[in-house]
Amino acid sequence: MSLSKLLERIAQLLPVLLGVSVIVFVMMALTPGDPVQIMIGDQSITPEQEAELRRGLGLDRPMIERFFIFLGNAVQFDFGESFYHRRPVGDVIAERLPATIELSLVALIVALVTAIPLGVLAAIRKNSIFDRIATVGSLLGVSLPGFWFGILLLMLFAVHLHILPVSGRIGFDAEVRMVTGFLLIDTLLAGNLRAFGDALAHLILPAITLGLPMTAILMRVTRTSMLEVLRQDYVTFADAKGLSRRRVLFRHALKNALIPTVSVAAIETGSLLGGNMIVETVFGWPGLGRLVVESIFLRNYPLVQAAVLFYAVTYVLLNFIADLLYTVLNPRVKL
């Protein structure tokens, strides 16, 4: 891809971000519910003290003025101060981000390594018992609610079998110096294998719960596209040439069949990176999704605005990556 194309892509990001800013700001401001009333809660308060609180949050100014202040600061990467944490929202989000990214990537890996072989196998043995089980399984995978499946896993592996921890990212006694914020990497950097094992044990259940629906989707995509490819003339031709079945499947068919899988995976990763509210809540995972949902209920405007902007950027970038992968897998496609 040429440099000009890359610049063009980056330029396309700007109107998206501006549009998202306007929408998220207006939606938050117009949603009924007054942040000041929520904050005061069940208390008696004098009107003067209430006004002082409102002024402190910057909510005494008209909405239009607030919007331009927000926009002016946002272009300098200043998204304001969280109403509740009373610190810059950028800092608060940055603290939660590594946990969410680490969980998402592990869930992605879980999904890829299970979905692709299962999908290929189901396609090769179309209509076999295995195919049927896999198809029904994937239907279940998409339909099982995460909170239910997660709690089921918890009750089994943590409460009854006692082999995995209930919640959190790592035990209290593990002392790990944060370098990257990703515990699997930081524990290895510190050469602390026990802590690495502990972090991994904490990851297993949330990653499976989070990865399950994605596994199901990717498996179905892989199966369908593999079936499609297996019907193509070049596959028949390769078979006719007398190439081994294995060679035909993996060298000729699979590479092409994976194109849709890859793009779906990239886009689905966007939703994982948003932080999965349900999985993070069930497993007490200190990630972004939980923080954002709590903030919406509290009408913590600055935090929600910054987080939604972050989501927008993530989605655009992942789409871009999906396009790039496309060109790698299928050189006929030019960006």
Binding site: D42, R87, A158, S167
Partner: protein, 511 residues
């Protein structure tokens, strides 16, 4: 020291260092929310205060039966209706080793009560919790005087909400430092805050001992305290059953049996401070008629709902006040009586009944549905509509502006257990929690007088009169005060839940 001695000492030290986790007594709390900040003056959430309270002590505190007792203060003297003197204890140390002085107390309270008191034009969000404090002055080395601009009898009940910080330290680290580190005078000091995950604290060995009136006095019992954030209640229960945590808060009523039946865990309850009630829109089409309101009061079988839906974990109320609140008293009851309800409706001109909606937040939908079915039986055909909390507040708590809607299933918390904090906002004309749109000038005058009455007996009598007025006017259908339910490990000793939902762990031990 010989080489051998050195070697032995070193290996002994290494052994100690290698095994503290096994020897240390840890107490882990599975808690619903993380702290927003560690700055005692810069937050507005009960959960945040619950965590901070284990590291920071206040002038006053409450015991688990909600009695206000001196903590860092040695004694409290009311000099005049608007002046209180606090004599401070000596020998109280901050976690950095410095001595706490009257200067620190004044600094702490100024930081909270003054406009712009936090510096940079920032006012503490806790200012409103301190009422009409006009000034804080140092009378002598060990005495601080709080002066109010008008009498405010609940100052002692509200002071446990504020914790003392070190002036020198706050000035050194700034608000950003105070938000993420700590230097209190409390029984535990911060080891590490893993944001969103856990707050780890360890015992402060130079602790002065805590409130003299709450035994035992002395250092904390356990070595470490960990607040582990587990927002989902099923996961909190799982963590308790698995033995990962020793206390969990907000145990759901439907999990009580499971926790009780498990051999290593038990359930503890305490009367809460949140009153539940249903607002009837007195400016609306139906409930402007006192007969319709009375009919509704006779239509609800509170005892049945408490028993069947809330698992018996609630106390019935017939006025706004919790049975534990100051000034609460026995009140006339509107007994469950379907025939009477129907007759009243007919008298009011609705012999065939009427159709209304009841707004409720999702969390209380089940209970609201049960109430609605009882109302419907009596002829008040009620449809439950679930809304989001903040939106419903906007719709119903209009401070006097016209409102739409028929009924609102809601609640009001009363952490101080003083009527001022719940009665006035929910019943005074156009006040911020008056969702019924109720207006009774006689009651307004009574509430205003009671708010500043210094004689406790007279004040209690005034609130009794006020309860009798609302009991007769029925602006709300007063329902119940649910108990707070905790799950605990049987290894836990010396800890009792407290009505204000604090989890003070100074006295708690692990066997």
């Amino acid at each position: 020291m010989t080489r051998l001695q050195k070697l032995l000492t070193a290996s002994a030290l290494a052994l100690c260092a290698a095994t503290p986790a096994a020897l240390a007594a840890d107490l882990t709390v599975g808690f619903t929310l993380d702290a927003d900040t560690l700055d005692p003056a810069n937050h507005r959430k009960r959960e945040t205060e619950t965590i901070i309270r284990n590291m920071y002590d206040g002038l006053l505190t409450r015991d688990s039966s909600m009695k206000v007792v001196p903590e860092i203060a040695e004694s409290i003297t009311q000099v005049s209706p608007t002046e209180y003197d606090f004599k401070l204890r000596t020998g109280v140390k901050f976690h950095d080793g410095s001595d706490m002085t009257a200067e620190d107390v004044k600094f702490t309270l100024d930081r909270i009560t003054k406009d712009g008191g936090m510096g940079d034009g920032v006012t503490s969000p806790r200012q409103g919790l301190m009422g009409p404090v006009a000034s804080v002055d140092i009378v002598s080395d060990d005495t601080v005087r709080i002066t109010l601009s008008e009498p405010w009898p609940i100052l002692p009940a509200m002071l446990p909400n504020q914790q003392i910080v070190s002036k020198a330290w706050v000035e050194k680290v700034g608000n950003d430092g105070v938000a993420t580190s700590e230097n209190g005078t409390g029984p535990f000091k911060l080891v590490e805050w893993r944001k969103g995950d856990a707050i780890i604290m360890e015992r402060f060995d130079d602790y002065y001992g805590g409130a003299a009136d709450i035994a035992p006095v002395g250092k904390a019992c356990v070595d470490r305290v960990i607040f582990k954030v587990i927002p989902e209640s099923a996961s909190r229960v799982a963590a308790l059953l698995a033995g990962d945590v020793d206390i969990i808060n907000e145990l759901p009523p439907f999990s009580v049996a499971q926790v009780k039946n498990n051999e290593n865990t038990d359930v503890l309850t305490v009367n809460g401070t949140r009153s539940f009630f249903i607002a009837m829109n007195m400016q609306g089409e139906f409930f402007d008629d006192p007969k319709v309101r009375e009919a509704a009061a006779h239509a609800i079988d509170k005892d049945l709902i408490i028993d069947r839906i809330l698992g018996g974990n609630a106390a019935r109320i017939d006025g706004i006040l919790s049975p534990d609140a100051f000034g609460s008293s026995e009140l006339p009851r509107y007994d469950y009586d379907l025939e009477k309800a129907k007759a009243l409706l007919a008298e009011a001109g609705y012999p065939d009944g009427l159709d209304v909606t009841m707004d409720v937040e999702g969390a209380f939908k089940d209970t609201a549905e049960a109430v609605a079915s009882l109302l419907t039986k009596a002829g008040i055909r009620t449809k439950v509509e679930v809304g989001e909390g903040a939106q419903l507040v906007d719709k119903w708590r209009t401070k006097g502006a016209p409102k739409t809607g028929d009924m609102y299933f809601t609640s009001w918390g009363n952490g101080s257990l003083d009527p001022f904090d719940i009665f006035t906002p929910t019943h005074r004309t156009n006040d911020r929690g008056n969702s019924a749109g109720y207006s009774n000038p006689e009651l307004d005058a009574l509430l205003d007088t009671a708010a500043v009455e210094m004689d406790t007996e007279k004040r209690a009598a005034m609130y009794h009169d006020a309860e009798m007025m609302i009991n007769a006017d029925i602006p709300y259908l007063y329902l119940w005060v649910p108990q707070d339910i905790y799950g605990v490990s049987k290894r836990l000793k010396g800890w009792k839940p407290s009505a204000d939902s604090r989890i003070n762990l100074h006295d708690a031990c692990i066997e």
